[in-house]
């Protein structure tokens, strides 16, 4: 057999072998049995207002957003509310670039373990405490990472505390997340200002 041909075949075999092994290794290392997807539904702002009023909740949302971003979707199930903002019109709760996930929470701030930078501050409307992670793992981020805040927000009107996960996806980062956190106000106040 021609020497050049032999070298070509040998090189090809090695390349294919490496590709095959790396593909299998990737598959073996990344096996996953993910849970069933979000069963809630997208609702309108008016419907959301009605729910909030009925349940006597104070929902806190950002009064200041990065340039070009606006509310694109509200996703609701009785135990979990997801509010998303985006600058491309994306309303999908997984891929919009700014998201707030609100629930009752199973532990208090005092019972929690400080997983990130501690935040504690007070506004005329709320007492806000929690943690911020500059780089958190997330499957739905194009880079695999997001900036994430876990907050316990106690409304000074109702004295109810709700658990918030607030995150930003790339290209937004920790600076935008901090601005969002420090601009949180009750939803009614934000819409009144607009």
């Amino acid at each position: 057999m021609n020497k050049k041909v032999r070298v070509l075949i040998q090189t090809s075999v090695i390349i294919v072998f490496i590709i095959t092994v790396s593909m299998f290794a990737h598959y073996l290392l990344t096996s996953s049995v993910p849970p069933a997807p979000f069963p809630g539904k997208q609702i309108t702002l008016d419907e959301f207002h009605e729910i909030v009023k009925t349940r006597d909740l104070d929902i806190f949302i950002p009064s200041s957003l990065p340039m070009g971003y606006k509310l694109t979707g509200i996703w609701y199930m009785p135990t979990d509310i997801i509010i998303v903002f985006d600058n491309r019109g994306v309303s999908d709760y997984r891929y919009a670039r700014i998201g707030l996930e609100i629930s009752r929470g199973i532990i208090t701030f005092e019972q929690s373990k400080p997983y990130g930078r501690v935040i504690k501050y007070e506004t005329p409307y709320a007492i806000i405490r929690g943690y911020v992670l500059e780089k958190a793992h997330c499957d739905y981020s194009p880079t695999g990472y997001i900036s994430l805040a876990e907050l316990w927000i106690t409304s000074k009107r109702t004295w109810k505390t709700m658990h918030y996960l607030i995150d930003v996806r790339p290209p937004l980062g920790i600076n935008e997340l901090m601005s969002i956190i420090y601009s949180l106000k009750p939803m009614d106040e934000v819409f009144k200002e607009e």
Binding site: Y27, V33, G105, H137
Partner: protein, 229 residues
């Protein structure tokens, strides 16, 4: 000339093989994007107030044929965040590529730190036996107690830490990656939620069954599932 033709044929064959293999490695991303998993089971979420801080349920062990690189699994799950795809889950899985012909117990965590998947090497679930799976807050440094019981005996127990430490919903499902897997025999019972004091049975549920699977809803806390194959 004959050698060159042979070389081209061999090279072509190898490239084709590589492209056929490629979807195996790419599967994870593809699955995340398109969500082609098939589910049959219950969400708990339909309550106005979420008292669920954990979950438990009995699952009868079956061992259906699983073709190729697919998997079949049955589990209970604590959903930490739907938006960010964070959860902690325990059950059993049959996955030929990873563990061969018999099912194995598994625990999976996906959270702000990372994705962790743990096959439990011993004990092994026995086909035809019902096990009880419990995920309950340990109230210690953000940890969950993950327990498997056979009858009254604890056969496996470990703690898993998650960040965040929360529960937005609980679930109990059979899951496959392909409708050719026949899930007849599926039986979940005594589905319970932890409310901080005890484990009441689920008093509401929302069913989900993706075609070709079907549910037989016996009560809020018990169901059978069948179909596929």
């Amino acid at each position: 000339m004959r050698n060159i033709k042979l070389a081209i044929i061999v090279l072509g064959f190898m490239l084709c093989s590589a492209f056929l293999i490629m979807p195996i490695g790419a599967q994870d991303n593809l699955l995340t994007e398109a969500d082609p998993y098939l589910y049959a089971g219950y969400y708990f979420y339909n309550g106005e107030v979420n008292d669920a801080f954990g979950v438990s349920g009995k699952i009868y062990t079956i061992s259906p044929a699983v073709p190729g690189i697919n998997h079949f699994a049955q589990w209970v799950n604590v959903m930490i965040s739907y938006r960010n795809h964070y959860w902690i889950q325990m059950g059993y899985i049959k996955d030929l590529l990873h563990r061969g012909l018999i099912p194995v117990f598994h625990i999976e965590v996906n959270d702000a730190w990372s994705h962790r998947f743990r096959f439990i090497s011993t004990p092994k679930p026995q086909v035809g036996v019902t096990y009880k799976y419990i995920i309950i807050p340990a109230y210690e440094d953000g940890k969950w107690d993950c327990i498997i019981l056979r009858g009254e005996s604890v056969i496996f127990e470990t703690t898993m830490e998650t960040n965040p430490f929360d529960c937005d919903d609980v679930q109990a499902f059979t899951e496959t990656t392909i409708g050719e897997i026949n899930i007849v025999g599926t039986h979940f019972s005594e589905l319970s939620y932890f409310n901080g004091r005890g484990f009441p049975l689920w008093d509401h549920h929302v069913p989900r069954a993706d075609s070709p699977y079907y549910l037989k809803e016996k009560s809020h806390y018990e169901f059978y599932a069948y179909g596929g194959g």
